[in-house]
């Protein structure tokens, strides 16, 4: 296998205006929590909350572009949202290979996104298969 047990990866992502507007433009989720400052503040948040599934886009980039091989397919993905992400937040992404099954060329990553306040905003696991 190209990936190795405990192999670590890091990257920095920014939820900037382009990403935020791009997500809304494509998926059309204009829920007030994501689009209204006033509504978001009334609900106890600092500002508009970014769509949690933007992070799934970052995960797609990680698997598709940052691994040492592009011959991979995602088998499963599990993500927990722990803290809100706001516009222009810079997120440090960390992942490592937690488990492997050589027989079927499967690696399971454990990952987390950490904001500038050192809070984990999201964490989870992704299971991928290296394609032969």
């Amino acid at each position: 296998m190209i990936l190795q047990l405990n192999q670590k990866f890091q990257h920095q992502f920014t939820v900037d205006e382009r990403v935020y507007q791009g997500f809304i433009s494509i998926f059309e989720d204009k829920n007030l929590l994501h689009t209204s400052e006033e509504f978001a503040r009334k609900k106890g948040f600092q500002s508009r909350v970014m769509h949690g599934n933007i992070l799934n886009g970052f995960l797609s980039f990680f698997i598709g572009q940052l691994l040492p091989t592009e011959d991979v397919i995602i088998l499963s993905q599990q993500i927990n949202f722990k803290n809100p992400v706001y516009l222009n937040d810079i997120l440090n992404f960390e992942a490592f290979v937690e488990e492997q099954s050589e027989a079927v060329q499967v690696s399971t990553f454990k990952f987390k996104f950490i904001n500038k306040e050192n809070k984990t905003v999201s964490a989870g696991k992704i299971q991928i298969k290296e394609l032969l």
Partner: protein, 78 residues
């Protein structure tokens, strides 16, 4: 564990991984007998079985199985 006990535990794994609680496994069951048992779910089944029984298979072992009973025999040999 004996063959029947492993079959019972495998049934639970198949229910979880294939998201179908109506699957009934027999020693003779093959992928052709279960609609949800396709190529990608097969991989996830193998990973789940390895984890549950704390065993590691080789690719040649996996390719040699003709049915669930042969998978169980392989687990018993570990």
């Amino acid at each position: 564990m004996n063959r029947d006990e492993i079959l019972g535990q495998l049934t639970t794994i198949f229910h979880d991984e294939l998201d179908n609680d109506e699957i009934v496994l027999h020693f003779e069951t093959t992928a052709d007998d279960i609609e949800e048992w396709d190529s990608l779910s097969h991989i996830q089944l193998i990973v789940a079985v390895e984890k549950a029984f704390k065993v590691r298979f080789t690719s040649s072992e996996i390719q040699s199985w003709n049915n669930v009973g042969e998978m169980i025999d392989c687990i018993l040999k570990k």
